[in-house]
Amino acid sequence: MTTHPETAAPGAARSASAAAPAGAGNDRARTATGGGPTVFVDTVERAAATPDEFQPYTELGLRDDEYERIRQILGRRPTQSELAMYSIMWSEHCSYKSSKVHLRQFAEKAPRSDRLLAGIGANAGVVRVSDRLAVTFKVESHNHPSFVEPYQGAATGVGGIVRDILAMGARPVAVMDPLRFGAADHPDTARVLPGVVAGIGGYGNCLGLPNIGGEVVFDPCYQGNPLVNALCVGVLPIDRLQNKAAAGPGNVVVLLGAKTGRDGIGGVSVLASAAFDESSAQHRPSVQVGDPFTEKLLIEACLELYDAGLVVGIQDLGGAGLTCALSETAAAAGTGMRIWLERVPLREPSMEPHEILASESQERMLLIVAPEHLDAVLAVAEKWGVPATAIGEVTPPGPDGQSGRLVITWHGHTVVDVPPGSLADDGPVYARPMREPADRILLQADRAETLPRPSTPEELRETVLRMIASPNLCDKTWVTEQYDRYVLGNTVLAQPEDAGMIRIDEESGLGVAVSVDGNGRYARLDPYQGARLALAEAYRNVAVTGAEPIAVTNCLNFGSPEDPGVMWQFAEAVRGLADGCAELGIPVTGGNVSFYNQTGAVAIHPTPIVGVLGVIDDVRRRIPMGFPAPTHPEGDLIFLLGETRTELSGSEWAWVTHGHLGGEPPRVDLARERALAQVMIAAARDGLVSAAHDLSDGGLAQALVESCLRRNVGARIELPEEFRAESMPFVYLFSESAGRAIAVVPRGREEAFTALCAQHEVPVTWIGVTDGASRALEITSQFTISLDELRAAFTATLPKLFGGVAEAA
């Protein structure tokens, strides 16, 4: 190489040892590592010479046929380091080997979008939102680490997704966290939830990223396997888009960021690719430890490098660490790579080559840099106090269109010599057996619509208070006040609003809105419809703020793919989501699959989490969810958009009051969702609506309570004729029919608003007025509850479960 790697930042690079090359006939190469004990190194030469040596591939999660394929690819047995690399890259988590055949639908069925600048396969999808700006977003799981070590697991989940966004050339601007926990009153939830929440806050707050939304859902199916998903949104000038290809032979491979330690070794392969059992506690050392301060510096350093045009390619180091970054960057360019592994700065000098390659130490990025820019790159890194080390160089592709080789040496010994594509792209692909679970017919026959319902005003009143105090519907301030939503000064909407909204251009007011949603119960009843319902809800949540939905990301949380029932659920959910996106006309831009979410033989509810990104030309026109102080003495007008049917199966009511899950989830009509979105976008643009709130879990009652309490404004609601008899008031208030929202329209604009609804064929019903004086929610001829009583019920639950917060000293 033309620029010697030793020109790395002072004190950062370990000097390359002049260890003697392994001599011929020296069948046990030995080397000293940093003054530590002499360790055994399994070299390529030695592997060729000892074909029959036993290798613990089964323990590393590889099957017999997979191991055989590795031997075929290499023409010999793999070295210890190579075996570690294949076992990680071919693990479920990294290779998507069980999901790949299904995920193809996202690309095949994707609607054409001229906004898409980078899609599936990139670190995160990128969509154009103006002539100058693009937005990238992605959601990822960190479920297993967060159960083992809640604080660090959740913290590094945030760190990991932020680096994905950073790797696209974007400045991360916001995070969100969809969370699932076991029963709210289970003792272990009191261990997991506070740790997860503190970890998300501890990392995100210190990184300076506003947390603008997410979900907190409790269900016993997540008891031994909570879901901690993390979403990040980033913004970039279109011409700053980065890619991961290690192009240009002779270019320098630079490792930027934290030193490499033993944390997280085998994290993804050990943790994310096998179900939990009693030995979970032994996995604790496999959880990575986060350092948000270093990540903050890493962000600033990378952005400065991008702006100065100093980077050819970049990839974050996350799951599978260097192994993944080296093989993917080389494979993406078809080039080879030559790495001097002893140059990697280590926290623990005794680390062996396979440990360095497998380490999941956080806060690291891999850069591909032209040799003439290396000094400038190191200077930027030094300005931000981030270690940077040249660890190798890009080598040419092979002859005849073949890819190059990834060659890694350790003190002069060649420990890895593989085609990078065999690690990154050519992992095994399985069409796993699938079978509809046998109990599904019985489950669907057991409909919640047949359960006894409240029918008197007094029963209905009690039901409202009980429902809003239930763990899934109650106020989540206990969680969200531990997150900074103000930092960066561009947060226009944040939780508990339907979607988070961030201003991305202070001049024009251009902004983006994001919502993440999922409903495991619906997906358990029908994974195809459940995925479409999740998509519909996230889409609707974005639309009711006045933003136009333009892109989809997803995190698919499921049980073991080796269980044909789970595999069927997965296939159905993917099909549902892909079909749904095609119907809505917005593409899936990326996502993540998390399998093996189960305890013993029992899988979680299939839980597809869907994130939708929307764009709004001017955030000053956003529609908030809370009822505003009325502009007229008689109150502003409240309308219900959409149709209410008797749909109680899978509902929060059936679960809370009857512990019931059965029947079929609410119907989804995506054409209707699209029409509803058109109405809301036009209403925001024309200033017809002063507040709007999506209806989902808990139905109309929940939406009314939340809208009242947000700004302490009461409301009087009149039930339509057909919902006044017997238990129909209950159905109107608690049905979870999809495709609905409430909207507040100032007097004088109602004709324009209802005409707009008619134009888009969206059913619209006037249901009542806001009331600035009553300080109560009144359902005419049913009941009245004061806002104080509602608030007391709504806010008490989580502090009671997870500890009140002390007030004055």
């Binding site: 707050n205 300076g208 201003r503 002390a806 004055a808």
Partner: protein, 226 residues
Amino acid sequence: MSARIGVVTFPGSLDDGDAARAVRIAGGEPVRLWHADPDLHGVDAVILPGGFSYGDYLRCGAIARFAPVMESIVDAARGGMPVLGICNGFQILCEAHLLPGALTRNQHLHFRTRDQLLRMEAVNTPFTNNYVAGQEVLIPVKHGEGRYVADQRTLDELEATGRIVARYIGNPNGSMRDIAGVTNEAGNVVGLMPHPEHAVDLLTGPSVDGLGFFTSILKHVAGAPA
């Protein structure tokens, strides 16, 4: 010529951009200052913004006080230059002994973000002259270590000499005597746990009550003898 207000960026500063924006909205000229550069570039006043300087790994503000820029700021402050420390900036000013007392872990041990009601008290400082004593303002707090503590004598003295800048109405962190902000004896150095820079625009904040801190310093600079 509008007042030049320095905003320092330490490694780990997070609200530096917000503070600069607030200065701009108030009509001033923000000047970005870098922790490693002792040159104050002729600014009229300095803001130490919120964040987690150096990760706050040792003790909040404990490392930032040793930054080269801080030596210049301490000297300038002793010479009378107005200095406002917000959140982490307040912590740094305490560590630098420009302000008395210390900020410790919130009594409930959680990081807490909320829109906080405050009552303004000392309105004779360069950063509060646009408020009236007793005025109630709504300004966000967001911190894990914002509990103001000092010995009884110091607290008595702060009260007796009118050096409490603002108190919480509904204490969010267990601060002694509900103290949200204090000033030094000379009145030119102000430390404040809440974030006025997050309350300058109704689009992104709960109120515009924080703007007064930034218009106050502009008024002060404009009125100061050349």
